[in-house]
Assembly symmetry: C2
Homo-oligomer: 249 residues x 2
């Protein structure tokens, strides 16, 4: 195996609706004197993609319904925010201790359907992109057209885990990379089939990128160079847990 | 933020009970012409630590009890293996579709209490180290004494997730690094307190290391260089979810 590099790409301007994320990325990379290479994985944080896609909602415009008001009261939350959380969700997975875990319309399982007010101007909340795999695809195509390189794109967000404190960045959308690196049917050197057959490389890459970008500095993107992955176009949505195998339903 | 590097360290011999993991790592690094630097994080896969600590059990010596036989039958598993899974666990979290999720004695939540037959000689199963934080501490101290560098050590294993297909490497033990990078009380540039306050850097680093080591090649360790983290000694055990906040209990 080879050495990996994770290169932070910062210096983006404030991203507004209609902004061209691929162009902003390339401009920022140029200023940092970084050039894309074949098989680079470009990781872009969800928040700037949501902003570019106009997924900011003014809370004053949100009319909370009965379910949202009830849930907001029980969890000590703003009912307008909870209304957005419910609108973005297929179902509430769990609620308690001020945390609402939902399954989103994209079949992501996360707190508050990914709806969030941090790094957004006051009075607004950001929703996740409507189709994060599609967002990744558009950004990848534009990067490839502009540079002539074959690259992959991951849109990342920060999720908590039900079984451990702390949060890690994971992939919510991807393009040009298969979410899993399959070892199905491969055997170890004792002849046993491997127990771990499908490392979720998109999530490991999203988490690795977070190590180079952090939360406070204005670095909404990174390049992960040297990771082994398979090219593919089925997106993060394809690794949502099968409902019949979901032990936590 | 700075660039990160992830350097695979392979070429270990077969690890036997009593082996000195720190010495084997330094020998392998020397052959690869890699020198440890201050603040490097050395990630070591659980399996070689378990082998060095004599945590292999011969299945023929295991007498399955009534609970193990029942659970093994329901899940289509070897009753001797299930007996080990139960012995290593505090409780069974969920069981179904041939998967047994437990909370281990170290308060890890994972499949089969981490008991596993891959990359182990036939007829044997490997248990997790009895105290992975302690294992990490011993390896770190020895690395620091041998090199004069201040480093951190993470013991990693591969866990599935209840909410998504695929597996990622996470930390099961650590030393010289605090598991979380706290942003508590920090505000974004709009003056809001950050929603994400505690990135689990140990898990992001363990996952990043997996990208450089893979599952098949004989690379049981990696160096992650350039990651921001706080030095600390409370271990992975300290980020087990508080029981009263566990929404999945």
């Amino acid at each position: 195996m080879n050495k990996l590099e994770i290169i932070p790409v910062g210096g983006f301007p404030e991203v507004r609706e209609g902004a061209d994320i691929a162009a902003l990325f390339l401009e920022a990379a140029r200023r940092s004197r970084v050039e894309l290479a074949d098989r680079d994985v470009v990781v872009v944080k969800q928040k700037i993609v949501s902003k570019a896609e106009g997924r900011l909602v003014r809370l004053a415009d949100v009319e909370p319904g009965r379910d949202a008001r009830k849930l907001a009261e029980a969890q000590g939350k703003d009912p307008r925010l909870v209304e957005l959380v419910l609108r973005e969700s297929l179902r509430v997975v769990r609620a308690g201790h001020g945390v609402i875990i939902t399954e989103t319309k994209h079949r992501l399982v996360c707190a508050n359907s990914g709806v969030d007010r941090s790094n957004v101007r006051r009075g607004y909340a950001a929703l996740l992109p409507a189709d994060p795999d599609g967002s990744a695809r558009r950004i990848r195509r534009e990067l490839e057209e502009a540079t002539g390189r074959k690259v992959a794109v991951i849109i990342s967000d920060t999720f908590g885990r039900p079984w451990r404190r702390g949060q890690t960045d994971v992939a919510i959308g991807c393009s040009g990379i298969d979410p899993l690196l399959s070892y199905l049917g491969k055997t170890d050197r004792y002849g046993y089939e491997l127990r771990v057959t499908e490392p979720a490389v998109v999530d490991e890459i999203a988490g690795a990128a977070e190590l180079a970008t952090g939360k406070l500095s204005r670095i909404p993107a990174a390049i992960v160079r040297g990771a082994a992955y398979a090219r593919g176009e089925r997106g993060v949505r394809s690794i949502a847990i099968e409902r019949e195998k979901d032990l936590f339903r």
